[in-house]
């Protein structure tokens, strides 16, 4: 079946907004309508904003939506997770991999263009994760009947019984959505290294992720590309909801179609959302520094709330650094963001108001570098 990908006209869209009326012409005149959307953007924040926007603005009493999207390299953490526990933030900064916090629960995932995201929007009454996953399995089996894929009761999809190819999460509010990933041709090695946290000594009630062995569909069958898989799922969804197999392309930056969406995109990018929504945690760690043939042990304890340092205790070898300077650092760190660039800028600024000594500078820099690398 050829699929037609059309650009929705603005007029169509405005009719969809006020869907407390019945669905406009163009859909089958069943009581329930459905529509398939695909994002032209690969920006995680824009795509998450689309989910927010649909959740807030579309009346889903008689309507369901399937949203297909892919992103450039990003790590996405769940609503109540701790990024320091879940991923290697330092590596992500170096490799320019973004970090996003989604509004649904669940664990941490890695996205790149080889991963498909599917979001199923329904009313709260029609919220049914297993149904959605069965649909995905059916689509894959339609495509390649010999594929061994099944859904577990944890709402994961497994390939060959052992390898996770999809994880799910959901958000319930006024309406509901269930979204899941699907690994087609993602960078598996980058995925496993970036989802390994190097930060030790964190105590937190944040939702932990459950690590799993993963595999790409592409590795099982090299002819399976993201586009083919997305088309198959869209086709299956269209059959299930008795609608035409039309996939409407949407631009998440278009304010005329999605009024207010750019504000949502901005909010998802703020530090306050990504890091500040981390549940309260404490970090207690030791690290060693080598300085001029001597071995120094440093102990740092911090409490972090809303992503900011609430309590700070640093234990350095006595007199190795001017105590006044260390005291200033601890004092200034309170209320400061738990963030390496903020801490580095702060520590460097403090050095300006202290007597100039080459030795002190060297030690200070060594200590600050070590601290930010080990903790943040």
């Amino acid at each position: 079946m050829k699929n037609m990908v059309i650009r929705a006209s603005l007029k169509n869209w405005f009719q969809l907004f006020y869907v407390h009326k019945f669905p406009a012409a163009g859909f089958k005149t069943t009581a329930d309508g459905a529509i398939i959307l695909q994002s032209v953007s690969n920006d995680i924040y824009q795509n998450l904003a689309v989910e927010d926007w649909i959740h807030d603005n579309i009346n889903l009493e008689n309507m369901q939506v399937l949203f297909l999207w892919r992103n450039l390299s990003t790590v996405v953490i769940g609503r109540h997770q701790n990024p320091w526990q879940e991923c290697n933030l330092k590596m992500m900064r170096q490799k320019n991999i973004k970090l996003a916090r989604r509004r649904s629960g669940g664990g941490t995932v890695y996205h790149d263009l080889g991963n498909i995201n599917l979001t199923f929007f329904t009313s709260k009454k029609k919220y049914e994760r297993m149904e959605n996953l069965k649909l995905v399995v059916k689509a894959l089996k339609c495509l390649r009947p010999q594929l061994d894929v099944h859904a577990t009761d944890r709402c994961d999809l497994l390939l060959n019984r052992n390898f996770k190819i999809s994880g799910s999460a959901a958000k319930l509010g006024r309406t509901a959505y269930h979204h899941c990933t699907l690994l087609c041709s993602a960078d598996r090695f980058l995925l496993s290294s970036v989802l390994k946290s190097p930060y030790k000594g964190i105590k937190s009630n944040a939702t932990p992720s459950v690590p799993a062995s993963v595999k790409n569909l592409f590795e099982e069958d090299p002819t399976l590309t993201c586009q083919i898989v997305m088309d198959a799922i869209a086709a299956e969804y269209a059959i299930y909801h008795q609608i035409d197999h039309h996939v409407t392309l949407i631009n998440p930056a278009d304010e005329t179609v999605f009024p207010g969406i750019n504000n949502k995109t901005k909010e998802l990018q703020t530090w306050e959302w990504i890091y500040g929504k981390t549940p309260k945690f404490s970090i207690s760690t030791c690290f060693n520094m080598v300085y001029k043939h001597s071995f120094l042990e440093v102990k740092v304890d911090m409490d972090v709330k809303h992503g900011r340092i609430e309590v700070c205790n640093i234990n350095l070898p006595e007199e190795w650094l001017p105590p006044a300077l260390c005291g200033e650092l601890e004092k200034n760190l309170i209320g400061s963001k738990f963030c390496p660039s903020e801490t580095t800028a702060l520590a460097s600024a403090l050095l300006r108001s202290c007597p100039q000594d080459y030795e002190v500078h060297r030690r200070w820099n060594l200590f600050c570098e070590n601290m930010t690398t080990t903790l943040m």
Binding site: F17, Y18, H20, D56, N57, I58, N59, G78, R79, H80, R93, Q94, S104, G105, G106, K125, Y127, E128, R129, S168, A169, K171, L172, G173, R174, A176, N205, T207, G260, N263, K277, P279, K280, R308, E328, N332, L333, I334, G335, S336, K337, P340, S341, E342, T344, A345, L346, A347, S348, A349, L350, L351, R352, S353, Q356, H361, W364, N365, C368, E369
Partner: protein
């Protein structure tokens, strides 16, 4: 539409007859716009509300228990219907629980990370119940409602009709539904009504004309970051925002890097600054850079004007080393620094930070450009380390990329001098023959520590620096 609002209000008050007639007639829409920051409510007729137990409703999929992950309210907060109360999590689903009532939160039944049960009480809400009693006196005006407070959506007895999505849109934009004219059935407020209302608000605090013109919003101001002297001239335009009557000042503590900078700046102002300004004609340098840009690009380096400014400064510092010094706290000892570690002010997420290029005296212009690229790249990705941010001995601040000509820069301790570079402008000047030509002019504003640097030294340093830049070929003579 202005008539409608009047009708609404007069209708609500007609049974009460406490408003003087001239107040009612004066109550047209323009007056209302200025007054609408004041919330009108009746003072005497509110009875004590009843405590309602708000139970955790069914979430679906047979779920019986959830974990409370975040509270959006605390005891004593007032809430409106559909406001978010808390976030709970169950098996990878995050659920926002919203209030079913208007009222005041009186009790939270769970702490964070506790298990909450479906069907059991989550919070107690005291709901307001307005009695049907005529008040004896005129209404009281209250200060503007801020974004944090919640608007009650009742005009004495009349509930404004709107779907939850429309209410949310109104709340997000600080719009009181009572002020929006509904064009739907039964005066129901539709999304278009909110959008129309918003469009009228944008741009100015003006009484709307009778013909309901939509005032187009002004374009936004774009601030360019302090990049190297590559100019993308932008015309600054005032920022426009929809007029929102918030009225609440916001106080927050100064933390982190800003707090440390307060200390630095306080120390800086103890230094007696004196200023010295000059204008530099950069025509030859502009041409030279044009020639060298592709060469640098071929080596993978972006070449701005800054590497030339830094190198010229370093060459000049060799002749006037007192500008590359540091004094102790009581100004008793002066240290002549061997290395020229020249700092460049950089605009980042943290604010204006100053990484420095080490040992400019032994680096070529190309090497300086390469270093600047590295620092820029680290700066924009928040990866600058302490080594790059400390040890500076002299600073150049390129404020000109944002705008401005003259400045009065503040010296960054423990340094003793700083230069602020204005933007390069094309201006008419006279050449040696008395002819007018198009000159590329940049202004420089120096500040120096007057305890150890005198005006003459500063002027001579500036002249030498200027001569290197106005005749780049002369730099060749002194290059080491």
């Amino acid at each position: 539409s202005s008539t409608q609002i009047c009708v609404c209000h007069t209708r609500s008050y007609s049974s009460v007859c406490f408003l003087k007639s001239k107040y009612v007639y004066a109550f047209d829409k323009s007056a209302f716009k200025f007054n609408h920051q004041h919330r009108l409510f009746r003072t005497s007729a509110i009875s004590k509300g009843q405590i309602v137990q708000f139970k955790l409703s069914d979430i679906g999929e047979g779920i019986t228990e959830v974990t409370v992950k975040e509270w959006y309210v605390k005891e004593g907060d007032s809430v409106s219907q559909f406001d978010s109360i808390c976030e709970v999590q169950s098996d990878k689903a995050s659920v926002t629980i919203t209030s079913r009532y208007d009222g005041i939160i009186r009790k939270l039944y769970y702490n964070l990370d506790e298990i909450a049960y479906v069907g059991k009480p989550l919070v107690d809400i005291e709901t307001d119940v307005l009695k049907d009693v005529a008040p004896e006196e005129d209404v009281v005006e209250t200060p503007a409602v801020s974004h944090e407070e919640h608007t009650h959506q009742e005009i004495k007895g009349h509930k404004t009709l709107a779907t939850p999505a429309v209410r949310r849109l109104a709340m997000e934009n600080n719009i009181k539904l009572s002020e929006v004219v509904g064009t739907g059935k039964d005066n129901r407020i539709l999304k278009e009504d909110i959008l129309n209302y918003l469009a009228k608000q944008t741009g100015a605090i003006l009484p709307p004309s009778p013909k309901s013109e939509i005032i187009p919003p002004l374009p936004k101001l774009e601030t360019a970051p302090a990049a190297p002297k590559d100019k993308a001239h932008r015309i600054p335009v005032p920022i426009s925002k929809p007029t929102v009557f918030t009225g609440k000042d916001k106080t927050e503590p100064i933390t982190g890097f800003h707090k440390a900078m307060v200390k630095t700046m306080s120390a800086a102002l103890k230094i007696p600054h004196f200023g010295y300004c000059d204008e530099i004609e950069l025509n030859q340098l502009v041409q030279l850079r044009e020639e060298l840009k592709p060469l640098a690009q071929a080596r993978g380096v972006k070449l701005s004007f800054m590497p030339f400014f830094l190198k010229a400064a370093s060459l000049a510092l060799l002749h006037y080393p007192v500008l590359n010094t540091s004094v102790d706290e009581n100004c008793q000892n002066i240290t002549y620094k061997a290395s020229h570690n020249i700092g460049i002010a950089m605009d980042t997420e943290q604010g204006l930070i100053v990484p420095n290029v080490k040992s400019v005296q032994v680096r070529s212009v190309f090497e300086i450009a390469s270093e600047l690229n590295r620092l820029q790249s680290l700066g924009s990705s928040g990866q600058l380390g302490t080594n790059d941010l400390t040890g500076g001995t002299f600073t150049l601040s390129n404020i000109g990329t944002i705008g401005g000509t003259y400045a009065k820069p503040v010296i960054l301790p423990p340094e003793v001098a700083i230069g602020a570079l204005g933007k390069i402008q094309a201006l008419p000047r006279f050449n040696g023959k008395g002819e007018v030509f198009k000159a590329q002019i940049m202004n420089v504003s120096w500040s120096a520590d007057h305890r150890i640097i005198d005006g003459a030294t500063m002027a001579r340093f500036s002249n030498l620096w200027k001569s290197y830049l106005e005749n780049p070929a002369s730099m060749l003579l002194d290059l080491k």
